[in-house]
Symmetry: C2
Subunit: 458 residues, 2 copies
């Protein structure tokens, strides 16, 4: 009995047109990663469980897909553990491997394992899928790609400058003009927490601040109060909720606020350096702005924080983000390796390009030239022609069977084929072929011996 | 306490140089897939277990990686099943998803699910990793890529001709001249079994015949006897073990042997058509030959069978293979979809190219131009220069910190950087930069305003 097939929820099949559009984004990102001197690495899809578990918090641990041990996996489980019938206790006894949850932890593991082969500073990029057992919803999948570029082993703020240029280069190349690159610094956030006397509550403070867009100023204040941040502290921080003016003015307001925080002033200085350099170098199409409400969920950032929003008018969350972290590899025993990196959100960029109709039309062309099939002898002559075209890098194809010509034309239309070649018995005798331009219906005859004229006309 | 990190056995990290070499192969294959009119699809890394289980035999079922259900997976297991503590009975209760084992079954599932969107004949290619819980050994991994191209919904033998041309085009482009494309036909094998009176033992016959290279003629005969094929039958088939002459002579010997087998003669006719067409079209560097011992392990092939061996002198099994199957999608309820496809063995091709030193040297160049870093002011001028280079598609980079110049030169050497730019305080004043050719040590000074001259010289 045949099954009605389906795929697991939260996963996707990609059709040829979708693969082409996704590859267009991947290839553009990859090209600029390379031009900026980043080198590719790849890591296995699954890691040993102990490499991943405990690195993403309790919630993360729950969302990691575990792979069942092969063979008679229960034979190694002691009866005591087994008899409790407890999923959490049984899991580590029957699974040793888990699917990659992000690219950062495997990268840290890679750097530590290969530290003797790596010549630091190491600029690496990695474009691979990750898996999360999240509840699937619109725009959130259980399998999705991450596109990361990081520099490890270099403390210079020039890295931050380059990463801003890299965002600008990629989005300009994708013709997605006017993205907003938002900049902040964890030291500034820490300074703010220090000044307002809620140092130990920094994480709560930033997590609440991060929700400003979603729940508004009142909502943020309410959450801060609930977390135990005093009214007085919140009042001190209030100016942050409505900073205005250009980046210079904003920085000087903040400098005044943070005048007694060494860490805060260090953060301001870093921001000033980065903004000054970027202004001198110029950006092609992106806009750089400060955003002191930018905190990002992850707690491992220690310096600069980046986030990229799509151009005005497009309703979509961030399409990229990143930052500097002082200790990437400490969890695996290699101390003092500083890094800074950015990430591109493939699925969201895809949706934005689709909404703005920015995918090149050529992505829908899988075959440039289709030869119709008039029978065996004609097909042989056509295949010779097609070989020549293919050797010139032209996507050419022969309709595979001697079907009705009308059906063959329909096939060409469905595939957006721009040129159809007719080589029937008449042309065979005349050593010629007819090219039909499918856009305007024009027909032109070429001699087989001067196929180069046709190639040149493409 | 920091862990000493490792990766699961049978999996691999790929360094930048390895990724570049692998991508060189992938990109070459992909380019020709596209030029031959194949369209890309991608399917999820994991499928519902019922999509995969039972499709690869008992051994296959064992080698499929299963993913543990998320959350409290034991809550759905009845106490009766649980109390037996039996791995095989528990598995289907606690796993619903499994990692892709090959690309063929997911492709069949894809075709059935998307049959209304697909305009047949459908030429698809797919390059994605697969996972098998096989015992790892030299050249056999638990995670590896498959590169498949298939045409479904077309019965014409022209497909076979094109697939041979495709093999030729890819291996020629990889400069791997002289590969052997071996050709056989399951109908011929079936005809042989018919003639020798061991029709119901065809699978055993072909599996034994497939081992001719490994265990020799005597070994094959012994295995056939053990499987219940009579001495008389084996004697009739014996000429097959040592067929010689050109393809024409071989075909006529076989034609005589199979004169009473309708199916066998049909197979011969198909082979003749393919060989005749390929001879008329010509191959660039590959050699096509018949191999009646070629059976391939898989049982779903029904017509043509392909296998590609590396050039003489390279000790390595097949680097590609494929064939025609009459019923790809029947398992999922869609009858009578014929297909033919080929596959490229990435890991083995990699090893062959490495052994023959055929990887282009440029793959080792991650940075074409490195600017040394003489301090903040010089770095800013260098970054402007670098932006111009990058905008021209040149892989350019700035050494990230103001380290000792000797250290910076060492970094350039380790990375095979061909050109180093020096822009120190002297050059800054003169609005110039010095280019050092790292191969011969030559230095040349350019004005910053005429950077195009330098770009043109690259």
């Amino acid at each position: 009995m045949a099954q009605k097939p389906s795929i697991p929820k939260g996963t996707r099949d990609f059709s040829p047109a979708e693969v082409n559009r996704r590859n267009y984004i991947f290839d553009t990102i990859k090209k600029h990663f390379q031009v900026f001197g980043f080198q590719p690495i790849e890591t296995p899809s699954f890691e040993n469980s102990e490499t991943l578990m405990g690195k993403y918090g309790d919630e993360g641990d729950r969302l990691i897909f575990k792979i069942l041990n092969s063979g008679d996996f229960l034979s190694k489980v002691d009866d005591g553990t087994y008899s409790t019938k407890n999923s959490a206790s049984l899991t580590p006894k029957i699974t040793e491997k888990a699917l990659r949850y992000d690219l950062t932890v495997p990268f840290a593991r890679y750097v530590v394992m290969h530290q003797n082969e790596i010549d630091f500073p190491f600029k690496r990029y990695q474009i691979q899928p990750v898996w999360r057992a999240d509840r699937p919803q619109k725009g959130r999948f259980r399998e999705f790609y991450q596109c990361d570029a990081d520099v490890v082993g270099a403390n210079s703020l020039l890295q931050e400058v380059e990463l801003i240029q890299l965002y600008d280069a990629v989005f300009t190349d994708l013709r997605l003009d006017g993205v907003h690159i938002k900049l902040n610094n964890r030291k500034v956030l820490a300074g703010i927490a220090e000044i307002i006397g809620a140092k130990q509550l920094l994480v709560d403070f930033t997590v609440a601040l991060d929700k400003l867009d979603k729940i508004g100023e009142e909502g943020v204040k309410k959450e801060m109060l609930e977390k135990g941040i005093s009214e007085k502290s919140i009042a001190k921080a209030a100016p942050l909720f409505s900073l205005s003016g250009d980046t210079g003015e904003q920085l000087s307001i903040l400098k005044a606020l943070l005048k007694d925080s060494e860490q805060g002033l260090e953060g301001i200085e870093e921001l000033e350096f980065i903004i000054d350099m970027v202004e001198q170098l110029g950006l092609q199409s992106a806009q750089l702005s400060l955003d002191f409400t930018l905190a990002r969920g992850l707690n491992y950032y220690t310096g600069t924080i980046f986030e990229v929003s799509p151009p005005e008018g497009v309703k979509m969350g961030s399409i990229g983000g990143g930052g500097r972290y002082d200790d990437l590899t400490g969890i695996f025993g290699l101390k003092d390796v500083s890094g800074v990196g950015i990430s591109f959100g493939l699925d969201r960029i895809y949706l934005v390009l689709e909404e703005l109709n920015l995918f090149p039309k050529t992505l829908e062309q899988f075959v440039q030239v289709l030869c119709l099939n008039f029978g065996e002898k004609e097909a042989l002559a056509s295949l010779k022609l097609i070989s020549t075209l293919r050797n010139s890098g032209i996507k050419a194809d022969l309709y595979p069977t001697g079907a009705k010509i009308q059906k063959q034309f329909k096939y060409a239309n469905n595939r957006n084929v721009p040129y159809v070649i007719l080589l029937g018995d008449k042309e065979l005798v005349e050593n010629a072929f007819v090219v039909k331009n499918m856009a305007n219906g024009e027909q032109k005859t070429f001699s087989i011996d001067s196929i180069e004229d046709f190639i040149a006309s493409l």
